[in-house]
């Protein structure tokens, strides 16, 4: 009995280690991810927490450092420019955080909140208490508030009056930020798993080889898969929107035509990527790994669940050209900010371009047999 068990276990090991792709995705990939994420997140000093300062003070941009000092007694700063003030707190208390304050009007603060550039803003008018404005449902905003409040109280010699004024207006809540991101992510998943994974499976079943041994054009075959998932994906998005409309009171403020354009261009981008990643993969384990390699970084970086504006400045230009970021930002702009066709032309061209390039490369290198 034990011998049988031992034989079975040894046989499974042999099968496992004789498939190099599987070994890599099992051992190499988690280490690679740990290393990448470790590099990205271990240096907390790199994470900047953006906070808007909304004040009636004239020429607030020029007096921001003084204003902050006056209000809070904070002695600053690492970096101060005319428009910004960077401030590090909690170095010795184990609650290290780095803030960047930017002075702006309330309208600008609302827009920045919708775009995920800030999670909270501080209002202060002469003689009034300090007001923190944020959605209490947003964990990141709450953390910013607690860190700031704690730091201000430590720095301040006299008693600081402060209050929290929750932001619950439709369009400014965390759920308003989240739903467009989820819509974009749903398109990514529909394409990479629904198209890419399916094609890999067809190759393994030898059905791909059988299909192309007919007069069927290869490009038509690939496009049929993309079209099928596109219709399903449109239905998924519609369902998600209807749910968000009735349950969270979220509605599309911008152009419907722009939304359709962004949907199609985003879908083309991810369908092209799906074709490219399925072009050479020959087993499901490797397929799983390749799809995760593509999706996981975007899942983390593209601002679906939390803003990418907290990442280091050098990283943001790269994040902003990721297809999921372009798609998320465009959806967010249309749904919460009310932007129109003109503003989404550029990202749509970018998404179409990525899709066309990936599709062409995939078709060129596709392994049909």
């Amino acid at each position: 009995m034990n011998n049988i068990l031992l034989r079975l276990v040894i046989s499974q090991f042999k099968i496992f280690f004789r498939e190099p792709g599987v070994v890599f995705w099992s051992f190499g990939f988690p280490i690679l991810i740990a290393w990448t994420l470790g590099i990205a997140f271990s240096n907390k000093g790199e994470i900047l927490r953006n906070v808007a300062i909304v004040t009636e003070a004239p020429q607030a941009l020029y007096v921001l450092p003084q204003w902050l000092y006056k209000i809070t007694g904070t002695v600053s700063t690492e970096l101060s420019t005319e428009a910004e003030l960077e401030w590090e707190v909690g170095q010795n208390q184990g609650e290290y955080a780095r803030f960047r304050f930017q002075a702006m009007s309330e309208d600008e603060a609302v827009l920045s909140l919708k775009r995920g550039k800030i999670a909270l803003w501080i209002e202060s008018n002469q003689g009034a208490a300090l007001s923190y404005r944020f959605d209490p449902g947003n964990a990141e905003a709450r953390l910013n508030y607690l860190l700031l409040e704690g730091a201000f109280r430590q720095q301040k010699t006299s008693e600081l009056k402060a209050e929290v004024r929750p932001l619950t207006i439709v369009g400014n809540r965390f759920i308003d930020f989240l739903i467009p991101g989820l819509m974009a992510m749903s398109i990514m998943n529909a394409c990479l798993w629904g198209i890419g994974w399916n094609l890999i499976e067809l190759r393994i079943k030898k059905l791909l080889r059988r299909m192309v041994a007919t007069p069927l054009k290869k490009s038509i075959f690939l496009i049929s898969h993309a079209l099928n998932r596109m219709i399903l994906s449109a239905a998924e998005l519609l369902l998600l929107y209807v749910f968000a409309y009735y349950y969270f009171d979220i509605s599309i403020k911008g152009s419907l035509l722009a939304l359709v354009l962004v949907f199609i261009s985003g879908y083309c981008a991810f369908a092209g990527i799906a074709v490219l990643i399925s072009s050479r993969v020959q087993n499901t384990q490797s397929g799983n790994g390749v799809i995760n390699v593509i999706t996981m970084p975007m899942f983390i970086l593209s601002g679906v669940f939390f803003s990418y504006h907290n990442f280091p400045d050098w990283l943001i230009p790269y994040v902003e050209v990721l297809p999921l970021t372009m798609l998320t930002n465009s959806f967010r702009g249309i749904i919460t900010e009310g932007i129109g066709l003109k503003q989404v032309i550029q990202p749509s061209i970018g998404l179409f371009g990525i899709g066309a390039l990936c599709f062409a490369l995939g078709l060129k290198f596709y392994r049909w047999h």
Binding site: L207, R209, R210, A213, T214, P215
Partner: protein, 306 residues
């Protein structure tokens, strides 16, 4: 000339799957590629099918090449690959209609094919629920949808039980009568004998022999065979001196002996007399003509079903 294969070779990593093979197939001919696993049969037919590209050499079908006339050739060739798993949750009818659409065929044709492959009653059955034989018939149905000029089948009956195999042979026999050129690979000599007039024997990527069954046996066969079992003594040495005996072997462990003779009618009476004179006890005796397997064994040292 329907198919012309000129000096074709194909290697995979360190294995020479097909080595400099040349071959011509006439219109309406039925050709069996016979050989054990690893002989190069599948690689050769996949190159003819345009599924694989030869490393060197040239393949012309109706005088056209895959490189220049793929679309035309795909219309002319029907094929069933060695292993295809069709979509499990499509029905038989849906699968046929899907493939029929690639050839722009009407529904009437899929109904005809359902009748030919005897799966009318399974038209609404999911592929996942079909037996092995039924799946092979579906693969055959897809191969003949567009009434191809050339039908290429790669081990169409491997893994099927004898009844399912015979059902498929019957369908193929009927289809052959339409004048379609047939190429099939198999390692079942009965299949090659039953379905094909011409047999090409392959081993290690090379052609060992090419001809009709009788031509091969006459040209390469060593003679007829007398198989016997005598357990108590070795008659082999004495048998070797009988008239018309080409070779004689006897296995002391099993008692099985084999005489290869020029003519059974000439040698059998003398062999029976010898057994009588030596007072040996004959357990069993069987006389038969050499088979393709005997021939293949003598030429390659391997059995066809290895």
């Amino acid at each position: 000339m329907t198919i012309e294969v000129r000096n074709v070779s194909k290697s995979f990593k360190d294995v020479d799957a097909v080595r400099n093979i040349s071959l011509q197939v006439e219109s309406g001919e039925a050709l069996a590629l016979l050989g054990p696993n690893g002989a190069g049969k599948t690689t050769l037919v996949e190159m003819i099918e345009g599924v694989q590209i030869p490393d060197s050499g040239e393949i012309l079908i109706f005088g056209k090449s895959w490189k220049n006339d793929e679309y035309f050739l795909r219309q002319q060739i029907g094929l069933a690959l060695q292993e295809t798993r069709f979509q499990e949750r499509l029905t038989v009818g849906e699968t046929l209609r899907l493939f029929a659409s690639f050839y722009q065929l009407k529904k009437e044709r899929t109904n005809e094919v359902l009748e030919i492959i005897q799966l009318e009653s399974k038209s609404r059955t999911w592929v996942v629920e079909l037996s092995g034989g039924q799946r092979q018939r579906l693969a055959l149905g897809i191969a003949i949808l567009q009434r191809p000029q050339i039908l290429i089948l790669d081990e169409p009956t491997t893994g099927l039980d004898p009844n399912a195999r015979r059902d498929l042979w019957k369908i193929l026999e009927d289809f052959k009568a339409t004048g379609t050129t047939l190429i099939l690979t198999t390692h079942y000599m009965e299949e090659a004998e039953f379905l094909c007039e011409r047999i090409l024997m392959l081993n290690h990527g090379e052609i060992l022999a090419d001809g009709t069954l009788n031509q091969l046996l006459d040209k390469f066969g060593e003679g007829d065979l007398i198989e016997y079992v005598i357990k108590d003594a070795n008659p082999s040495t004495e048998a070797r001196s009988l008239s018309g005996v080409l070779s004689s072997n006897w296995n002391s462990e099993t008692g099985q002996g084999l005489l290869t003779v020029k003519s059974i009618s000439e040698t059998l009476p003398a062999f029976l007399d010898l057994i009588k004179n030596l007072s040996l006890k004959l357990t069993s005796i069987e006389c038969r003509r050499s088979t393709l397997d005997d021939l293949f064994l003598s030429m390659s040292g391997r059995h066809l079903d290895e």
